[in-house]
């Protein structure tokens, strides 16, 4: 079914946030905190980062003033939506000794439904990838499912590409094409809104608006084209699957291992990385609680089996990460594990650049 785009103003955006919270959603969106644009609870338009942008490069992020008051005039920040759909720390169950031996109680799933405001195209792709991992395989992750179902996604077409973005080369942006309920394209003080689902169309109908003209739509397309042309990074992605798997002993792995801190930041900021570890904690009363937390293939214990770690060297751990992202992910889930958001480049303390590493391996 096809939907009709509309134009809304700032009042319309305010009405959108209002309507979502009236409908019982916990509205999450971009806001400024600790000199960065993070995703957090949003009460209204005032919480959005008006007039801010970011400068990003390998290992570097700086918030800067824009010369206008755009609300979405920056690229993606340190947080990914996965922290809400796939939380960093999750209680799974509790076991207590009882007369039968033990009693196990699963931790309840939260009842809140999320509305995400300002989801970028790369992030929509990342969510779609985690959907594949957690929902579309032989096993479903009930925790992800409980959070993902009923989530309302308001996308924003990027008007500015960040210094480390390369979605254009991954075919994951900058224009949102699927997986959203509504998508916004920002002009000064005005937004083109395009529904992507019945729920989105229904919500749009409740907002103050005017019908979009051909010219509005054309303008929005131009925004995306301009953004695509200004990508900070480029990844030559064709054939990268075979390239990496054919070069598992390439000398570049040693080179990157000398720089890599094996700190795990890249895996934690990546919107698609999904690995977790469980840990059981007993209290002294004899009860045990199992929690699950984000893990990282950069830690030694990640691959521990009796007798030692399978990947003791940082070299093998970096190689695991990158080949998983760009190659074995394709075999596992039919898609690349990288959406070109650039977070792993920006938030790597030493600025290791996945596009550069691919280039180096390609180079010989």
């Amino acid at each position: 079914m096809s939907y009709h785009p509309s134009m809304i103003g700032l009042d319309g955006l305010a009405a959108l946030i209002e309507a979502l919270s009236v409908d019982g959603f916990r509205v999450l969106g971009p806001t400024v905190r600790d000199d960065a644009i993070v995703y957090d609870d949003i009460a209204g338009v005032d919480d959005l980062p008006a007039g801010w942008t970011d400068e990003q490069d390998g290992g570097r992020y700086r918030l800067k003033r824009r010369d206008d008051s755009a609300l979405f005039g920056y690229a993606v920040g340190p947080h990914a939506w996965k922290r809400f759909l796939h939380p960093p720390l999750l209680r799974l169950w509790r076991a207590e000794p009882d007369s039968a031996g033990m009693k196990l109680t699963a931790a309840p799933e939260p009842e809140e439904r999320f509305a995400f405001l300002g989801v970028r195209s790369c992030e929509l792709h990342a969510i779609a990838i985690q959907d594949k991992v957690f929902l579309q395989g032989p096993y479903v992750d009930p925790h992800y499912k409980a959070r993902r179902e009923g989530a309302f996604l308001v996308a924003v077409n990027c008007g500015t590409a960040g210094g480390t973005c390369f979605c254009a080369s991954m075919n994951t942006g900058p224009r949102a094409t699927a997986g959203f309920d509504l998508t916004l394209t920002e002009f000064t003080g005005e937004f083109l809104v395009e529904p992507g689902s019945d729920a989105g169309a229904a919500l749009l109908a409740r907002l103050p608006q005017r019908a979009a003209t051909e010219a509005d739509i054309e303008r929005a397309r131009a925004v995306s084209e301009r953004t695509a042309a200004s990508m900070g990074r480029h990844m030559q992605a064709d054939g990268v699957h075979d390239l990496l798997l054919d070069n598992l002993e390439h000398k570049r792995w040693d080179d990157v291992a000398a720089r890599c801190l094996s700190c795990g930041n890249c895996t934690q900021v990546c919107p698609t990385c999904f690995c977790t570890a469980v840990s059981d904690v007993n209290d002294l009363s004899g009860a045990t609680e199992r929690t699950r937390r984000w893990d990282s293939c950069f830690s030694v214990d990640f691959s521990y089996i009796h007798g030692g770690s399978v990947r003791p060297s940082p070299r093998s751990r970096y190689r695991q990460w990158m080949t998983h992202k760009l190659a074995s992910w394709v075999d596992q889930f039919g898609t690349s594990g990288c959406v070109g958001c650039g977070r792993c480049i920006t938030w790597c303390p030493v600025g290791i650049d996945i596009t550069e590493e691919v280039r180096a391996i390609r180079g010989g």
């Binding site: 000199d35 960093p88 720089r259 094996s262 795990g264 002294l284 214990d301």
Partner: protein, 260 residues
């Protein structure tokens, strides 16, 4: 699960230290009475006058060895302990008092004391593991009380303590803190520092100063230029690695690399 017939005996020993790590046990306000219920507190002078004779099932050892008398006392502690767990940076990596190892102790003594001849002290501050076999080393200056409880329950249940050796960054990200190093707010040792504190410092808008000591496979050499970008000078680099864990291998090497 069958309950052990008698409660395991717990002893808490102190060597050169600030008492902070053993205080962590008394800071477990919600759990202290449960701990006291699960173990027999057999020796813990900071908490009780009562003294039960060894051997002890678990000994927690705080502090580093700085006197000949302590070195001898430690041997006896080890003899009396089935499991010996060191708690904190002093016991594990010599602690702040380990700074003497890089200086002339006689000069130190004369700075502090009017009559240096009254003071009996060794030239160096050494970790417990230099003197006796250690069953487990818990990191931190001070240790994290939840980790202490985890180690105790793990030993009581005969399992491996769940104490990850990865970087502080992993905890920092879980906490949702925006990296202070990347956003240019501070020089941060998080990427080379052992997790456990919960990434407190970055959450308080400052760089980690390494109080949990080095993580597994630390790469301080690669981090150094970034710390310089963030405002640390060469002597600062040398100093920051030589503070609370001065003899931890990776930190010691890095500090020496900067000429300290």
């Amino acid at each position: 699960m069958a309950k052990p017939p008698r409660k395991p005996k717990l002893a808490v020993w102190k060597f050169a230290s600030c008492d902070g790590c053993q205080l962590s046990l008394l800071d477990c306000e919600d759990e202290l009475l449960a701990v006291a219920g699960a173990v027999e507190i057999a020796y813990f002078p900071e908490a009780t006058r009562a003294v039960l004779k060894g051997p002890y099932d678990i000994s927690l050892v705080e502090g580093s060895v700085t006197t000949q008398h302590d070195a001898e006392r430690l041997l006896e502690v080890r003899r009396q302990s089935r499991r010996l767990i060191t708690i904190g940076a002093c016991a594990t990596a010599a602690g702040i008092q380990g700074l003497r190892n890089f200086k002339d102790v006689r000069e130190f003594t004369s700075v502090v004391y009017a009559h240096p001849e009254f003071i009996e002290t060794l030239e160096t501050s050494t970790p417990i593991s230099t003197h006796v076999e250690v069953d487990y080393e818990l990191r931190g200056c001070p240790i994290d009380k939840h980790q202490l409880l985890e180690v105790l329950t793990a030993f009581l249940n005969g399992r491996r303590p769940n104490i990850p050796a990865h970087s502080v960054c992993v905890e920092c990200k879980a906490r949702g803190t925006v990296c202070v190093l990347v956003r240019g707010a501070a020089a941060c040792l998080g990427p080379v520092t052992h997790a456990g504190c919960g990434a407190i410092c970055p959450a308080y808008n400052r760089g980690c100063y390494g109080c949990f000591g080095p993580k597994e496979t630390p790469n301080a050499v690669s981090l150094a230029p970034r710390l310089v970008d963030a405002g640390m000078d060469k002597t600062g680099l040398g100093r920051v690695y030589r503070t609370f864990n001065p003899v931890a291998d990776a930190f010691k090497k890095e500090s020496e690399r900067h000429g300290t």
